[in-house]
């Protein structure tokens, strides 16, 4: 069992979180010009690194989306950072 740091709530059990994908896997644009191969790579192909990784997670109970840096082998968590932008 792991505990992840929500940038707002603090440490919570992993069961309160949901994995959102690898950080940096940006949606290809413009959508109308993206090939089937491009969509397949965006949707299904992950680098799945062994070791240090950067991932998007969401804390389901408060709705905070954040960037989590962790080691997929040792489960060590290095940082978590909110993805919210400051209000204009």
């Amino acid at each position: 069992m792991q505990r992840f740091p929500c940038p707002f709530c603090g440490l919570r059990d992993e069961t309160e979180f949901h994995y959102g994908g690898e950080a940096g896997n940006d949606r290809p644009e413009p959508a109308a010009e993206v090939s089937d191969q491009g969509w397949a790579e965006y949707l299904h192909i992950e680098t799945n690194p062994k070791g240090r990784s950067r991932e998007i997670w969401v804390h389901m109970t408060c709705g905070e989306f954040f960037l989590l840096e962790r080691d997929t082998v040792t489960h060590e968590v290095f940082a978590s950072e909110s993805l919210r932008r400051a209000a204009p």
Partner: protein, 174 residues
């Protein structure tokens, strides 16, 4: 014709429902005013007035006066024993207020064994606390968990899940 009523969990008359167990008891708290406030909370509080203290996970609120239960970075539930006068809807300076009196059911657990009951339902570290009172509770997302006295807990649960949570408490092995 099929009787779909049989699919739903039977539940008691909430105004009279009470669970009495060794060291703890539970009841539904009726009639609280609940207002969901979203967006720029600092601006919302400036307009809604200084409505009591803010509570997070396992923190203690004063139930005789209005208080704010923090849910998320930009969301809180304003709770009051009396009806509150406010202008619902979107406000131009970046916040919204929504009447939520019937959106959440409020359960109160009290007694020396209350903490043990709560500890079975959530993995949150109660002693460490948290700015947000929202937690996974008995498998339900975003139940609001705080106290109104040392051994008295309030849970705000989406109303539709109240029969499930009541049954969870009712059938919990002693």
């Amino acid at each position: 014709m099929r009787d779909f009523a049989q699919k739903w969990t039977a539940f008691p008359e909430w105004s009279e429902a009470e669970l009495l167990r060794d060291g703890w008891r539970a009841r539904v708290v009726p009639g609280l005013s609940q207002t969901l406030v979203s967006g720029a909370l600092d601006k919302a509080w400036a307009q809604l007035g200084p409505e009591g203290a803010e509570v997070g996970l396992w923190q203690i609120a004063s139930p005789e006066t209005p208080y704010r239960v923090r849910i998320a970075r930009d969301r809180a539930l304003l709770v009051s024993p009396e009806a509150m006068a406010f202008d619902p809807g979107w406000h131009a300076d970046g916040w919204a207020a929504t009447v939520a009196d019937n959106s959440y059911a409020v359960l109160e657990l009290e007694g020396s064994e209350t903490r043990n009951v709560v500890s079975e339902a959530t993995t949150a570290d109660l002693d460490a606390g948290s700015p947000s009172a929202a937690t996974l509770f008995a498998g339900l997302q975003s139940v609001l968990l705080y106290r109104t006295a040392e051994a008295r807990v309030r849970l705000h649960v989406e109303s539709g899940y109240l029969p499930y949570l009541w049954r969870w408490l009712e059938t919990r092995p002693e």
